[in-house]
């Protein structure tokens, strides 16, 4: 009888779905999550495949074909989104600009999330030492508006997209650290952490293997939302001339370059602007969907105390 139950069990009890897979499934089952994922997939593909998709060289000027409207508005030369005042193909530039903007948003958000997670783990685990110092620092940083410091700092270290990304990534820790430090200081008191200590696990393993997974939800949610915000911030700073430097360009610098000639070629301003909006909305929708996926309302199926 036991054997039968076991055999039946072996086929009936496969490896449970991992948390990542489960979260993705939940996010996908949500309408706005699905829209976000599809949008982001399209955006990422467009950015990755820019060299294949772009009909022409994004930097090639052709003054003879300057300020042509989009082809579907009767513009000559078959430019899908028209040309700018220097005769460059707006669609091609949009793809390449998107590429840089996405890299800035995703890389900066990721760096900032990892940095914030690390500091949050330390601040929460070593509450009375590292935690005190870091939380004071966070208070100070919260009191100072980023635009002021960011602009001042960028002015000191000089413009440039990599410098800007570093500043943004470092500045962003504070968004993560407080939330995470609070959760960590709760989680570290839980019995499973004590259990890990009694089997001899070292502190780094306890932090990464036993505590980090419990605080990962907010990190990923914040990551998604902040990636969108960072695309926007980069655009704004590029418009101030602090971000991407020519000949490189992002969606933000496209806006900056074309806004003075809005009347001559509005399409060179409006489409990059729309693209920025789509990117921001997509990341935000994803963030919302992930928030729901990490905190499903029905979580009491098995263990009300913990779930």
């Amino acid at each position: 009888m036991t054997t039968m139950a076991k055999t039946a069990g072996r086929t009936r009890a496969p490896r449970s779905r991992s948390r990542a897979a489960e979260t993705a499934r939940r996010a996908w089952s949500d309408a706005s999550g699905r829209i976000a994922m599809v949008l982001l997939a399209v955006l990422v593909l467009a950015a990755l495949l820019a060299p294949l998709l772009a009909p022409s060289d994004p930097a090639a000027q052709n003054l003879a074909a300057a300020s042509r409207p989009p082809s579907w508005l009767g513009g000559e030369g078959g430019h899908l989104l028209g040309t700018d005042t220097l005769g460059r193909d707006v669609f091609s530039r949009l793809l390449y600009g998107l590429r840089l903007s996405m890299v800035v948003g995703v890389v900066t958000a990721t760096a900032s999330a990892l940095f914030g997670l690390l500091l949050g783990l330390l601040a929460g685990y070593y509450e009375s030492t590292a935690g005190m110092v870091l939380m004071r620092l966070a208070d100070v940083q919260f009191a100072v508006p980023f635009v002021a410091v960011g602009v001042a700092l960028a002015a000191v270290v000089g413009p440039g997209v990599v410098k800007l990304m570093i500043i943004l990534a470092v500045w962003g820790w504070v968004n993560y650290a407080r939330t995470i430090a609070n959760s960590v200081s709760q989680v570290k008191r839980m019995e499973f952490v004590t259990a890990a200590r009694t089997i001899g696990a070292r502190t780094p393993a306890i932090l990464l293997r036993h505590i980090a997974p419990s605080v990962l939800g907010p990190v990923i949610i914040l990551w998604s939302t902040s990636a969108g915000v960072l695309v926007l911030v980069e655009s704004a700073l590029s418009m101030l001339g602090l971000g991407v430097q020519p000949p490189d360009f992002s969606l933000g610098s496209m806006l900056a370059d074309s806004r003075t000639t809005l009347r001559l070629a509005w399409w060179a301003t409006v489409f990059p602007g729309l693209a920025i909006m789509v990117v921001v909305v997509a990341f935000n929708l994803l963030g919302d969907a992930l928030r729901d996926a990490f905190n499903p309302s029905v979580r009491t199926e098995h263990d009300p105390e913990l779930w």
Partner: protein, 343 residues
């Protein structure tokens, strides 16, 4: 049992906690006892008497304010780093009260059980996997559960995982802090039987903390009674339950007798911050004398293998006889996979 060297011994353990207001709470005050090889020492006492704190000092989670801990013949009180891992973490394990909070919710059962081996670099991955499977079978869990998360298991199954984790490194001593308190009665009996089987087969020693006097009577060879941070009586379980020497032990033991023989505690439970002078139990002791206010009664041998901390040991005797040893009626082990998911 006591002729052999004990597996663990604590001497004069004291633990002070600093509490808000700059005051100090003495949670444990001069506790000494030993755990013999293959023996179960039951540790009882009301909530807040310091049982868990003693356990945490024994397994080196809390550092004693004073006193020492010996384990397998070595003084482990001040060990750190690699020596602590080798001499304590590898050889002593803990089973926790709550099966749901003592397992990492994001670790699969297989990972939970392989971790002790991984931490101490025992075997390579394949061998660890087999060891996990063997251990799961040993504690009555289907190895197919290795891929499951703790929340997908019943309370009893999770507690088996907790026990299996404690056994992975083949320890000599297991500290179990109310390991059955969060379980249903029928599941409790299964877990208790499992612990007894394991002790018999593996020669384990247990420090078993519980509030359940019936369980202590059934399970432990010797019993230690704590009150407000102090050890008030230690002795052979059957003897203590038959003829308790300390008035507090007498009260506890009388709870297992016929209603008319029960001795109910008088007075109020003192706060651990404001401990009475002299004997800590005097505010509730029916036979307290003037001397009890003045002199702290030391824990002294009152008979071979029997120690009590009272100026008048054995003078408060509960009437009647100890209830028969209650062997928990364990329903037959449910085949692991007729999954008790819904409990």
């Amino acid at each position: 049992m006591s002729t052999h060297a004990p597996v663990a011994r604590v001497n004069g353990l004291v633990k002070d906690f600093r509490i808000p207001g700059g005051r100090v709470l003495r949670a444990v005050d001069g506790v000494s006892f030993e755990v013999g090889r293959g023996e179960t020492l039951g540790l009882v006492g009301e909530s807040g008497s310091g049982k868990s704190t003693v356990a945490r000092m024994l397994i080196r989670l809390d550092r004693p304010t004073a006193g020492s801990v010996e384990f397998e013949g070595a003084d482990i009180t001040a060990l750190r780093g690699a020596a602590l891992r080798r001499q304590v973490r590898r050889r002593m394990a803990m089973v926790f009260q709550s099966s749901s909070t003592s397992l990492n919710p994001y670790q699969r059962v297989g990972e939970v059980l392989a971790e002790p081996l991984r931490v101490h670099r025992v075997g390579e991955a394949g061998a660890r996997g087999r060891a996990v499977e063997t251990m799961m079978e040993r504690v009555g869990l289907d190895p197919a559960f290795a891929g499951r998360y703790p929340r997908e298991l019943s309370g009893g199954q999770r507690q088996r995982v907790g026990i299996a984790r404690a056994l992975m490194l083949d320890p000599s001593l297991i500290v179990a802090d109310e390991p059955t308190a969060s379980l249903d009665v029928s599941v409790q009996a299964q877990v208790v039987n499992l612990l007894q089987d394991l002790q018999r087969d593996l020669g384990l020693s247990y420090l078993f903390i519980t509030h359940d006097l019936g369980l202590v009577r059934h399970l432990s060879h010797r019993v230690a009674v704590m009150y407000l941070g102090r050890l008030v009586e230690v002795g052979d379980t059957a003897q203590v339950f038959a003829e308790p020497a300390h008035p507090y032990a007498a009260m506890l033991v009388s709870m297992r007798r016929q209603a008319e023989h029960r001795i109910l505690p008088a007075g109020e439970i003192p706060s651990p911050i404001d401990r009475p002078s002299g004997c800590v139990f005097r505010s509730r002791c029916p036979i307290a004398q003037a001397r009890c206010e003045r002199d702290v009664p030391p824990l002294v041998e009152i008979a071979p293998g029997r120690r009590a901390a009272c100026h008048f040991p054995g003078e408060l005797r509960p009437g009647g006889t100890d209830a028969p040893v209650h062997v928990p009626a364990a329903p037959p082990l449910v085949a692991p996979l007729t999954s008790q998911k819904g409990r």
